[in-house]
Assembly symmetry: C2
Homo-oligomer: 146 residues x 2
């Protein structure tokens, strides 16, 4: 029956900008399908068309085999906006385990990545965490100690 | 630096209903924190308060160590709605690897779970997939063959 988590899918407006962002935070692109046209996707997703550009991004050091199924819809084009707040109902935030959060944040800040708080925040039993957003505003959380 | 995927967080309106749904599709609750009050979360998430009810849900057969960080916000309460369409920008869909999709769908249909298409749809190189929604409308995809 249900074996495991497989992937989380992120819809983006510009797949090259999003690939660049996720590679900068440390993921590796493992697959790139510039144009997929599938009636099965259209039917499964209840959309009028199923034409999309896809990239898979994995954590190179990770054992989870999880990946991001990054999708730029070609037909239909992407709709709406990413959730504006971290308490919006729905799939709200994707979290990564980070070994040395301060060093990681320092490197990412130097590469121009901005965070919602000035410094990582502490909570729970020794958990430290900071949140950033991808080019479309999707919330991405870095977590140490969980 | 970035080690691996850690979790995906889902904001729900009623945590008991959502726990019930995710247990019915085959996950196991591994942690339950009925009330967390943390200024660190408030600051990290740029919210006016940080009072929330939390459950972790894992795939019992899975090796990924991934989990769902299921959150019912107490203060502030949840905002907005889940994305209405599968091409909405943002974290759009959470996918699980399933061994016998037809058997799984059959069992889930008997338990009252509804899907966006009548039957699993085929695409790519032998991939079969079907999509359902959690109690708040969050898209959950079951995938066989990927």
């Amino acid at each position: 029956m249900l074996e495991d988590f497989l992937h989380v899918s992120i819809t983006c407006r510009n797949i090259d900008s999003s690939i660049d962002f996720y590679e900068r935070i440390g993921l590796t692109m493992t697959k790139r399908l510039p144009e997929v046209v599938e009636d099965g996707i259209m039917t499964a997703f209840r959309l009028p068309k199923g034409r999309l550009s896809v990239a898979y991004l994995s954590a190179p050091q990770g054992r989870s085999k999880m990946f991001i199924d990054l999708v730029q819809w070609l037909e239909p084009e992407a709709a709406g906006q990413a959730y504006p707040v971290l308490n919006n109902v729905g799939l709200n935030r994707l979290a990564f385990r980070v070994k040395d959060l301060d060093a990681t944040v320092s490197v990412l800040k130097m590469s121009g990545i901005e965070f919602l708080s000035e410094e990582p925040q502490r909570f729970g039993d020794g958990i430290r965490s900071i949140v950033t957003t991808d080019p479309d505003g999707t919330f991405v959380q870095l977590v140490e100690g969980l």
